[in-house]
């Protein structure tokens, strides 16, 4: 692999490419710097593809939301567990961890949803669901 693609990994959760630190080797585990998902790196057609670790398990979504909050410096409040239960309910009813507070079941609303990845928390202080908070002391 050469050029920019050499360093970038495709994340299937946020459908974007990110550049992890250090050299990549098949089977490495990296966290998507955009959505927080843990991925196993696979070489495919001259590019790096991320495979979701623990795909669709309860642990996957817990790790993803914790990872996203860590990357962005966001906090949670007392609703965290109820919202995670909602995300698990979405997976059970609709096949993946879509935003539990929206009707849509589309990739753009995989948690953390695109508006949240795009800066809703910076602008509004919280995401649509109130899972991620700019300041965890706020409610």
């Amino acid at each position: 692999m050469t050029g920019q693609d050499e360093r970038r990994v495709f994340c299937p959760v946020c459908s974007a490419r990110f550049a992890p630190e250090g050299d990549l080797t098949e089977g490495d585990q990296v966290r998507c710097s955009i959505c927080g998902q843990m991925l196993i790196v696979r070489a495919c057609d001259n590019q790096w593809l991320g495979e979701r670790r623990s795909m669709l398990s309860d642990d996957e979504i817990r790790d993803r939301v914790d990872g996203f909050a860590m990357i962005r410096g966001y906090g949670f409040n007392e609703m965290k567990e109820e919202i995670i239960d909602g995300l698990i309910g979405k997976r059970d009813a609709f096949g993946d961890f879509y935003c539990p507070c929206r009707l849509e079941q589309t990739p753009e609303y995989q948690c953390p949803c695109r508006p949240t990845r795009g800066g809703d928390v910076e602008r509004d202080g919280r995401c649509h669901c109130g899972l991620f908070w700019k300041d965890s002391r706020e409610r």
Partner: protein
């Protein structure tokens, strides 16, 4: 309180659950519709009604007579229901 209470909700939404729980704990009857569990055509009809009432697609929507409450709002529920 004689008004019928209707709630449009999502089955996965924690705030919708809180609203239902709040009313149940107060012993208040209501009719709840989980919009995400409806068929596509039923969903279209309900969404049209919700958008007419609220101008958006946000849940829960609580309808008490002429009052429409969007989101989980215990203070507003208490006020409208005279609790």
């Amino acid at each position: 309180m004689t008004n019928e209470i209707k709630i449009f909700a999502l089955s996965t939404c924690p705030y919708c659950k809180k609203t239902k729980r709040f009313l149940s704990e107060k012993g208040i009857d209501y009719e709840a519709v989980d919009v995400d569990l409806l068929t596509s055509s039923e969903q279209d009809d309900v969404l049209e009604e919700i958008e007419k009432l609220t101008g958006k697609r946000s849940f829960p929507v609580v309808i008490i007579g002429d009052e429409v409450i969007v989101g989980h709002n215990e203070d507003k529920l208490r006020q409208v229901l005279g609790l």
